[in-house]
């Protein structure tokens, strides 16, 4: 480590704050505790906006959503022991969805480490499998460089969370703040430029294909290459399906869009993928929720995979044409070499599938259908709102029935499937986008997990809206129990509080509705409410998400298509 002897000397906590400022951190989320007090004391004198959640998990999700909305690195902080362990769900969530995040944790004094001190846990040990990198800083003179490396690692290559554990004696000790130098880590050299030969092979495969499908994942959003993917799709005339994480990477209003694929994806997307002769995966990782039974995935297709993470190539499926690199750089190079093809019969086939199996629901039902609520949200917000979700049925409906135009418009927990993500992520999104309408589309059981964060929204005057699609069940679990466990609803039923009254008690607005005809008015009232507001919709209790690829089935073996056919 290079130390310059004339670098200014200061307290460790001050070094931390100086590095945060140097890295352009303007907003942080976190919770106080004994061993991080020196850091908080220094933060007191800065312009960094600080949001204190009601639970560290909430803070981590807020930082995560803030990062997803802005493209910047999200920063959260927690104290040692329980503070650090409470962060772990949020860190794992960021890891699975490749979100750039720096998590700072306090640690007990260096000489107490390993002695089971008060509020001591082995934070780096606990978070090793759920971080891109983590480190404990034991020397105050290394603090600046370790923090700079943390920000660099978190935001480059395939982004991810980096945790820096800082013993309190390091925070209060005095050390040097060395000026920034070029970061050179022998073991960390992300490859961003694509290999010429690979790019040519990719273009060649696309030009030769008759029935290609673009399968776009969250990587396209992370690398800000929506425009590049659109240019490629339009030039070569290729239908585009996105993963849950990729929603918004390609405008769903485009005639080339065939919406989401996967377990609860569009029937026409799944059929197109299964019948393709070339699957062009970009920034997606062949999650099992996307592929269905692996052996029968894309039986007649070559697979082309563009990804910045070499370990993602051929991890789950054998890739024929790999391109390792940053989509932002690679895609234009491929597009350059592409030809436009009419692909008339391919598009004719797809539009037949589209006509036969659109996303729909029983529009004549007398009770509130969750899909209807989401359509109404979409109409009233003109498709412009930032949507966050919890995890479960409501998440799938939010993906199916709201049409996304922009990248970073849909913020959801994809890889980890973290229930309770919806409200805190809405708060993080609202902090990132003060002018935007931010709506958490939530389920009752997800909402229950983190609803205390409503008081965070109230405290910081963040006008998030939460729409709870309340069926009194852990809805997705109930659906699986119905389909695979003979309707034995073992412990999936919930006795919920009156969410509207809870919201009011916490200082937010609260609206409850039970009838279908109340939906438009209630949505309007919620959207125009000045401040955070909860709309509790008592929906049809046993509504299911269709279509569905059951576990072990191939992607085009979807259940529920006949239900669509019967619908008016």
């Amino acid at each position: 480590m290079k130390n310059s002897s004339n670098a200014p000397q200061m307290q460790g906590a001050q070094i931390i704050v100086e590095i945060l400022k140097e890295q352009g951190v303007d907003t942080m989320f976190g919770y106080l505790g004994g061993v991080v007090l020196p850091i908080f004391d220094k933060l007191y004198d800065t312009d960094i906006r600080f949001i204190t959640p009601r639970h560290e998990q909430g803070g981590a999700h807020m930082a995560d959503a803030y990062a997803r909305c802005t493209g910047k690195t999200g920063v959260c902080i927690a104290t040692s022991g329980p503070g650090a362990t409470n962060l772990t769900t949020g860190i794992a969530n960021a890891m699975m969805d490749s979100v750039p995040m720096v998590a700072l944790t306090g640690q007990v004094r260096t000489e107490l480490i390993g002695g089971d001190a008060f509020q001591e846990v082995d934070t780096t040990g606990i978070t090793r499998p759920i971080t891109k990198h983590n480190i404990i800083v034991k020397d105050v003179n290394n603090l600046a460089e370790e923090l700079r490396q943390a920000f660099y690692i978190a935001s480059t290559g395939r982004p991810g969370p980096v945790l820096v554990d800082i013993p309190v004696d390091v925070s209060v000790g005095t050390g040097r703040l060395n000026p920034p130098s070029e970061i050179d880590m022998p073991g960390y050299k992300p490859r961003v430029e694509g290999h010429k030969k690979q790019i040519e092979a990719a273009a060649d495969a696309i030009n030769k294909s008759e029935r290609p499908v673009l399968y776009v994942g969250g990587g396209v959003i992370i690398s800000n290459s929506s425009r590049e993917i659109t240019a490629l799709a339009e030039k070569a005339n290729i239908p585009v399906t996105t993963t849950l994480m990729g929603m918004g990477a390609f405008d769903q209003n485009s005639p080339l869009s065939i919406d989401m694929l996967g377990m609860h994806g569009a029937a026409y997307a799944n059929m197109a993928v299964q019948n393709s002769d070339l699957l062009i995966a970009v920034g997606s990782r062949f999650d099992d929720r996307v592929t269905g039974q692996l052996k029968r995935f894309c039986p007649n297709a070559k697979i082309l995979h563009v990804d910045i993470d070499p370990a993602s190539i051929s991890k789950n499926v054998q890739v024929h044409v790999p391109v390792v690199g940053d989509a932002k750089l690679v895609l234009p190079e491929i597009t350059e070499l592409l030809e436009h093809k009419p692909r008339e019969s391919w598009f004719a086939q797809i539009s037949e599938w589209k006509k036969a199996h659109p996303f729909t629901y029983d529009k004549n039902a007398s009770n509130i259908k969750p899909q209807y609520v989401i359509e109404e949200l979409w109409n009233q917000t003109k498709g412009e709102a930032t949507i966050t979700t919890g995890v479960g049925q409501h998440q799938m409906w939010a993906a199916q029935f709201y049409k996304y135009k922009y990248p970073r418009q849909f913020i959801t927990s994809g890889g980890l499937g973290t229930m309770g993500f919806g409200l805190p992520s809405a708060i993080g999104a609202q902090v990132a986008r003060p002018e935007s309408t931010v709506i958490d589309i939530d389920g009752d059981s997800s909402f229950n997990m983190t609803l205390t964060e409503l008081s965070t929204a109230v405290m910081y005057n963040l006008p998030v809206k939460a729409v709870v699609l309340n069926n009194g069940y852990m809805g997705m679990v109930r659906q699986w129990q119905e389909l695979f466990y003979q309707r034995r609803y073992s412990h999936s039923h919930l006795l919920n509080p009156n969410f509207a009254e809870v919201a009011k008690a916490l200082g937010a607005g609260g609206i409850s509705i039970e009838r279908k005809d109340e939906v438009p008015g209630a949505v309007e009232k919620m959207l125009s409410y000045d401040g955070p507001c909860v709309l509790d919709c008592r929906i049809e209790a046993e509504e299911n998400v269709w279509p569905m690829v059951s576990p072990g089935k191939a992607l085009d073996e979807m259940a529920g298509l006949e239900i669509f056919e019967k619908m008016p």
Binding site: R128, I135, I136, I153, M185, D309, P310, A311, S314, Q318
Partner: protein, 163 residues
Amino acid sequence: MKHVISALVQNKPGVLAHVAGMFAARAFNIDSLAVGRTDDPNLSRMTIVVVGGSEVLEQVRKQLGKIVSVVKIQDFAGRDVVARDLMLINIHCRAEKRAEIQALVSMFEGKVVDIGPKNVMVEISGPESKMEAFIDACRHYGIKATARTGTIAMPRYRKGDKS
């Protein structure tokens, strides 16, 4: 199928846990893992023997590469490799059997490193098959304990290599 992978890693606390943890989390089967410092005090070399097909090997290599403190990975697939294992083996041995065991040790190019009234300790190194053969040859005397380093390996010089 056994594969030998060699990873150059930064000599920092937690690196072994990180590497071993990655193997455990991804259900890769480690046959042996040997670690020691290199001539550069900032670097250690890990020699990892994994069991699995070529796809497994490919993933192991890539996932190892993702670990920030792993500097370089080589897999020796298709190369002529010098592989060695070092073993200390404590064999039950009364005074009258010493000569017999000494002869056996000589045959295997081992070394007697300690002698007690009822035991000898032998140091022996070589490829894994030699260790196994020696263990088998000693078994009927009674083996009190063995300690092995696990495999370390390097590829042989090949024409065209930079020397």
